[in-house]
Point group: C2
Chain length 704, copies 2
């Protein structure tokens, strides 16, 4: 084990890594902007999408600003009222910056994506490799900005607080409030974006494709721009905010648990390790990103291989770097921590691949779902649900295995070290987020590029290339979703451990009774288990209501705008976007409030024991439901595409119609409700963490 | 508080109550048999249903016999090998009798139901009251046999063991093995019956109604008898076995917890109270049964009032009796136990009514589901799922409230007494099962009566009456399902408490660590939460496969039997029944094995802490999923019926077609997978309880 000089050096390395991420994000951004936007028509369409996405974000940030203002005041009052860990003016500030950084990451990611879409389409006119490079670099900007801003903000707060002479527990409190800000912002981004994207999708499909009989991505469709905007606000900004939150949450949880996992001067090193891993991960991701390239006119599997190569290179670098990192920082006697990191990294890959297995038409489950389409929509629904439910088995086993290994092997019987092991495995899983998120955020850019190629009438040759890029995006979307769920679950579990730690550090005399035979815990478990059901119910119905509004609007435009169908007049794209945005804004309030209020309410009634039960219940059930919904939805989607490729009767057959029903049910499953659960389980933990001192002082459970 | 003479007197009262239940069941059976079976045609059809039901039961019992033989040998080996609480030859015997009594109750209930169906139809030719009386009395036979046989067997075992000088813990072990036997039998009855009934239903509908275009219950349909048999094996035998298990489980759990909840000689009284409550409940149910009657040609609401009057009278008697029972047995200082009983009784009523609210077309949720049918099958599915998910809220709140009151008010800070309070509230809920099950088992008899009236061409006037009886059956089915789920959840929770008690009594030095931050518990929670998803997936797909087989057979008969469509030749009903029975048998094995093996496996790997986590996880998730599936299924069913009544376009409209899709998805939800979850959560607890000693001695967790 090295001396304290090295510790200081490592501390400096963290912001350097963060800045490097931002620098390379800028570099990739610059490289994309050098590509041409293409024809006038392409510019026009891309412009409309860009304006729409901006309009949505503006509206979202306006709504969110009110929420943040209210929360700021609440936290300020608590800070001024004093008592407990909230008694610091840095607390409300940290909360604000968390929300701001998450929002900024989303803004930059989306700006890049809406700039890269037409450039990807235009680059595909040159070659497949060019198209891939632009789309992937756009994803890399998002990935690197998320990790860069996350790490920069956290280390910035650290240095400020340390300079002011604050203790590690005080710094932890600031981190947690930063995390809650990021988490709250993520909820709005995920839920709002999820509602927007599916409402626009349904509106465009139902009226345009089904009623008016025009093809997908036809410029005459008044909702076509909204649909393309939706890909960006849902799959880019939403996914980015989700993983930003996981990233920050996992690092913060591990850092806090690190303080109590070690003793004899190692505390600061335990605290530092997750930051160091994140910095290593950034370097690994940047290097990996340069391995993503294909030769001209290779097939789709070569594209997939190219992306995987980048991810794998980053992972291998990460494994090696973290081995030495752990050795140098914690010493050879704590090398077992390294196993938890590798366990997390591996688990992320496995869970992602499992999602691919259950949702790709190349494998049995989705093929089977497609076959049940022959006997009608009801059997498609039943079989898709059955596939989704069964697909929970292996992700649960993988997460259970990670917990087991991290706790028992890494912890070796030491409770605190075991919990640290679990949290550090979450950090390990997320360490290479810079590149895993890049492969994921690549998808919607490719999707948009396809849309722009179609709308601007590019030649079939180019369409073929953008289609190949888009198809690859569907595969990476599945793995990305699995990864997002797995990392959310592991982060949430780490946050639960952090919660008990935090309570203990606020009140060292508090006697936990977390036994599941304690009725407080049991009732907490029940209510926590119920939350994901309520959350899904609300978000699914929200999509329905929002879709209804856009359907009415699209019908109106077809009816009232003369010459629209003949292509002589232009539809009012902006109005469709605005209606989707408005609906999404209105609908995201109720689910968001539930996620924030219920943990506080349960705490006031049942105390911190009840809250811990609530967190465990919502994490367990939320994890299962998220896996189920993502995989059922993905399976329905690809079963439909499989039939459209000419199998089982092909497009227009009864089987196809049945598969479309499955796909429509799957839309809110996989793109709204399912992903929102990732945030739910983390946000409830974050809220509980922040309000722990308040609950300890004011809960009715103190009188039980 | 009275002396020990009264305790002895109460002990005698229990078997007397049990015998009284059986005597009155015999009395009602006799009364039904005095009614005429009706015309030759009616006799013939009823005969076919009876033969089919018997054939199914024979096949089921044959399959189950093998399972019981294997389990008997395993338990015998464990008993001979000695060690722990299993070291008694009574253990395997108790297991066998549990299975036997459950099977016997199912057999008697179904024999009665298949005897009463044609008699109900024929009595409806006289008057509505006559029809109601026959159908209800058939239900009462089932209800009273279930409680009678349950209580008789338990008190029989008690007297035998007490006569042999065995201690209360030894008696408890015998009780638990009896419970596991009943539980295992129930699983086969519920899962097998659930698969049979839905496969037959789908087969009859899909080929008969949709493909051949003949009406429901048309005698030309080769699956029509199987369909009617299905109502009996699923809704009578399956539901009966389910509640038999809850009844036995709740009593056993409360009795065992009663031993440790009290001290100073009160132990035996705490042990006795649940039995006494059950005996009181039987008397209350018998009296209540005589209040179920209507005047001629009152409307449907009068029928419902008549049934509710019976249930309410029984409940009021029960409240009064239990007040004095608690006072006399446990003394005025323990009168708070009475509150737990009333809480349980009330909760049963409320959860039942909540199910009615969410599934009846008279209320907003189902009306809304019907309205979404206008925009197609996908929106119906989404909205039905959303309603089902949202409907978990209040049942969770009710169960949470019962736990809270029973533990904190009744327990008053004493942990053991608090757990006893929870278990005794489950007993309270189930105490009047004699009559609540009667109103529930009435439904399928009325349904069958309607079918027989249709098939035998009875006049419209009679059809109108049987339709009224049937419609009422749908309402009571909804409340019955809610009640079954609520009681299963509360019983399962009581069994978890019993489990920890049992482990402690086997090894008083064992140190539990049931904290949810203990990874064993956490992994247990995850695996337990996953079980209901796997279970639902398997049972839903099983229905699909079984339905596929019967569809093929019905098509074959229509094709190969000349003159079938013209009514000149008779279909081969027996073969359809046999195919459904065979398929149900084959398909029930995998889910059953999972429910039995997983708890043992988790125990071997993660020890009793892991098992307790598993039980909590499966109970919480199973409860939610059961509520969700029952209510979504019921809502789809009634939304379809609502449209068929002429709303939103009526029969044959696109909305109707969409609603049919919802209904078809809902069938396995509400009649197969959902109800099976009730058994899953109890059986896993029972298996864990029985194998507790084995796990304590052999778990790998001992080395962690």
């Amino acid at each position: 084990m090295a001396g304290n000089g090295l510790v200081s050096f490592f501390f400096v390395l963290v912001p350097v890594g963060a800045i490097l991420a931002i620098v390379f994000a800028g570099y990739f951004y610059k490289k994309i902007s050098c590509f041409s936007e293409g024809t006038e028509k392409m510019k026009e369409i891309a412009g409309a999408i860009r304006i729409g996405a901006r309009a949505y974000l503006r509206r979202q940030y306006q709504g969110v600003a009110i929420f943040f203002a209210i929360m700021f005041v609440i936290l300020l009052v608590l800070a001024l009222a004093g008592g407990g860990s909230l008694a610091s003016l840095f607390v409300p500030l940290a909360f604000l910056t968390g929300g701001f950084c998450s929002g900024l990451a989303g803004f930059i990611g989306m700006t890049t994506a809406t700039m890269a879409n037409s450039r990807t389409a235009n680059a595909a006119r040159e070659s497949l490799d060019d198209g891939l490079r632009v789309a992937f670099q756009s994803g890399a900007v998002m990935g690197l900005i998320v990790v860069g801003l996350g790490l920069l903000a956290l280390s910035g707060w650290y240095f400020i607080m340390a300079a002011l002479g604050k203790s590690l527990p005080d710094i932890s409190t600031v981190f947690l409030n930063f995390g809650m800000g990021a988490s709250a912002m993520a909820l709005f981004a995920r839920v709002g974006g999820g509602i927007f994207t599916k409402a626009a999708d349904v509106g465009a499909d139902l009226v345009g494709k089904v009623e008016a009989g025009i093809p997908e991505d036809d410029p005459r469709n008044p909702a076509v721009i909204a649909d393309n905007v939706g890909d960006n606000v849902g799959d880019v900004a939403g996914m980015g905010a989700d993983l930003y939150e996981s990233y920050v949450g996992a690092i913060v949880a591990a850092a806090i648990l690190g303080i109590s996992a070690f003793s004899g001067g190692l505390e600061i090193r335990g605290f530092l390790l997750p930051f160091l891993l994140a910095a290593f991960g950034i370097l690994a991701s940047i290097i990996g990103a340069f391995f993503v390239r294909v030769k001209e006119d290779e097939d789709q599997s070569a594209l997939l291989k190219a992306l995987r190569r980048g991810v794998n290179v980053a992972a291998i670098i990460m494994v090696i770097a973290s081995y030495f990192g752990v050795r140098l920082l914690l010493g050879a006697e704590n090398i077992k921590v390294f196993v938890a990191i590798v366990g997390g990294l591996l688990a992320g890959v496995i869970i992602g691949r499992l999602s691919e297995y259950y949702t790709s038409a190349e494998y049995k489950p989705t093929k089977q779902v497609a076959e049940t389409a022959v006997t009608g929509p009801a059997t498609v629904i039943i079989d898709g649900l059955a596939v989704g439910m069964l697909s929970t088995v292996f992700p649960v086993v993988v997460v259970a295995a990670v917990i087991f290994i991290s706790y028992y092997y890494t912890g070796g019987g030491n409770f605190q070290l075991g919990l640290y092991g679990i949290a550090i495995s979450a950090v390990g899983m997320l360490s290479t987020l810079g590149i895993t998120l890049a492969t994921d955020a690549y998808g919607p850019v490719a999707d948009n590029a396809g849309g722009i190629a179609e709308m601007s009438g590019l030649p079939a040759e180019v369409r073929r290339r953008t289609d190949a890029l888009d198809a690859l995006g569907n595969t990476t979307a599945a793995t990305g979703k699995g990864f997002a769920i797995g990392s959310a679950a592991l982060t949430a579990l780490a946050l639960i451990a952090t919660y008990t730690q935090q309570v203990q550090s606020i009140d060292p005399f508090f006697q936990f009774n977390l036994s599941i035979t304690n009725p407080q815990v049991l009732i907490g478990l029940l209510i926590g288990g119920m939350l994901p059901f309520v959350f899904c119910s609300l978000t699914m119905q929200a999509v329905g209501r929002a879709a209804q509004k856009i359907v009415v609007e699209v019908r109106r435009q077809f009816r009232e705008i003369a010459g629209l169908m003949e292509g002589k007049a232009k539809p009012d794209y902006a109005r469709s976007v605005d209606i989707c945005a408005q609906a999404a804004q209105a609908e995201m309030i109720a689910p968001a409030l539930i996620a924030i209020i219920v943990p506080v309410l349960v705490g006031l009634l049942l105390g911190v024991n009840g809250v811990t039960g609530l967190l465990a219940g919502s994490t367990v059930v939320g994890f299962m439901m998220a896996v189920m919904m993502a995989n059922a939805g993905g399976s329905w989607d690809n079963a439909k595409k499989y039939i459209e490729e000419g199998n089982l009767g092909g497009k227009g057959s009864d089987a196809h119609k049945a598969a479309v029903v499955g796909d429509t049910v799957g839309d809110p499953f996989k793109d709204t409700s399912g992903p929102s659960l990732n945030i739910l389980i983390k946000l409830t933990s974050m809220v509980s963490l922040v309000f722990a001192a308040f609950i300890l002082a004011n809960s009715l459970a103190n009188f039980l």
